[in-house]
């Protein structure tokens, strides 16, 4: 590999024009529509089919196990991998762990890891303001506006949206060749995520019916549930719930979603301390992704786990009704 002229992939040439932070092009919009059809609409249809089928052929323990295992594995891929590791760099890990998390997250069908991380960093930069591609708060204050906002944030934004300039938002990931390779192979992960429960379902039950329901429950229903969970963070948790921190954006906490969505439900906490590996911020708050990160740390495959100090927590905390005097930038949160 040539070592001459190793300019960073973020581009440090003298700029002749202001850098575009996001682009909207028909080509990318077409890809987004295709993705929406294949990976949002189809899993929804699959869920309806699986539900209907359950009246004819009762759901088996195998089906539910396949669902649960794939839900957990891909959810961890998104929450621990896509979100806490690749978007926010809240810890470091071995190359094998990084590639595994990126692949598991890819199986969730939410987009390739580099695109996802770039979009999410942009979301943090512009949360609930112009530039936030999935805010529920930008369609008007009337109740119709709020409903339109929720639908947008939960679902319809994915049909067509501006694409972040990944050279600007994720130069670090572009420099990581293992992650670029894994990100490029996104379609493979999605297919693998469907093939695995289909094959296991078929082999264990020794039947085609088992393979089919494995495909449905471990594949399509699981994708639907995972996607709905992540969408709920964008819609519900930017609309209603508790706020422990007074921020510019409208992010909220919900303890039940914290339990159900791999710890992501502590969303207000997360927007206050984006770089923290812990979203719960207190030991008693259920945040299984954080516990997994600590477990990996104990096993020696993760390190440099970032959490705010007591002092940083203290300076940002505000009881309901009080405004925090500190600026949003007291915590070193680059993304």
């Amino acid at each position: 590999m040539s070592t001459m002229n190793l300019r960073p992939l973020s581009g440090t040439e003298p700029r002749r024009r202001p850098r575009r932070l996001a682009i909207a092009t028909p080509y990318l919009n077409r890809l987004q529509r295709q993705h929406f059809l294949l990976l949002t609409v189809v899993p929804f249809c699959g869920t309806i089919v699986a539900g209907g089928l359950a009246f004819v052929r009762p759901v088996t323990r195998l089906d539910l196990t396949l669902f649960f295992v794939m839900w957990l594995a891909t959810g961890v891929g998104v929450s621990v991998g896509y979100h806490r590791l690749f978007t926010h760099r809240s810890f470091e890990a071995t190359k094998r762990v990084r590639v595994l998390l990126a692949a598991l997250g890819g199986m969730a069908g939410l987009g390739p890891v580099i695109s996802w991380a770039a979009m999410h960093r942009r979301h943090h930069q512009y949360a609930d303001r112009d530039g936030d591609m999935h805010s529920p708060n930008l369609h008007g204050k009337s109740w119709i506006g709020k409903i339109r906002g929720l639908v947008h944030a939960h679902l319809t934004w994915m049909i067509q949206h501006e694409y972040p300039n990944i050279v600007h938002y994720t130069p670090d990931l572009l420099e990581d060749s293992a992650i670029v390779r894994t990100s490029r192979r996104y379609a493979t992960w999605v297919l693998l995520g469907l093939a695995i429960p289909t094959t296991v379902g078929g082999l264990v039950s020794r039947s085609l019916a088992g393979a089919a329901t494995g495909f449905l429950w471990g594949g399509l229903v699981r994708m639907f549930v995972v996607a709905q969970s992540i969408s709920a963070l964008n819609s519900i948790l930017h609309s209603a719930g508790e706020q422990h921190f007074d921020l510019r954006d409208n992010s909220r906490n919900n303890w039940l979603l914290g339990v159900l969505i791999w710890g992501e439900g502590w969303h207000n906490n997360h927007h206050a301390f984006p770089r923290s590996a812990s979203f719960g911020l207190r030991w008693y708050r259920v945040d299984i992704s954080y516990w997994l990160i600590r477990l990996m740390e104990k096993l020696g495959i993760a390190w440099n786990v970032v959490v705010p100090t007591a002092e940083q927590l203290g300076s940002r905390y505000s009881s309901p009704g009080e405004t925090s005097p500190s600026s949003p930038d007291t915590y070193p949160n680059s993304y």
Binding site: S2, R16, R17, I23, V167, E175, S177, V180, R184
Partner: protein
């Protein structure tokens, strides 16, 4: 604002370097006459190349260019022409 050092050859070198870095291959092994998607770029990495070129060349570029000019050689020739035209206009 000097654009007179930027010709098709230097743009081609930039692209080969950049794509090589993205794919983990030496730039010399990137064939400039092979379609970029055959080389292994996906839509995200193709956009990264376009946005880097946009920044370096000071032109607004769209990913759709890669449909018309799908190889590094074709793209570089096209962009060199655009750079020359822009330089003439501002001269």
């Amino acid at each position: 604002m000097s654009a007179n050092n930027i010709d098709a050859a230097s743009i081609q070198q930039f692209c080969a370097d950049y794509v090589g870095r993205l794919l983990g291959t030496p730039a010399e092994r990137i064939d400039p006459n092979v379609d970029l998607d055959s080389l292994g770029l996906d839509s995200a990495t193709a956009v990264a190349l376009i946005m880097s070129l946009e920044e370096w060349l000071g032109l607004e570029l769209m990913p759709e260019l890669l449909f018309e000019y799908p190889t590094i050689a074709a793209l570089s020739n096209h962009l060199a022409t655009r750079v020359a035209v822009t330089a003439q206009r501002s001269a």
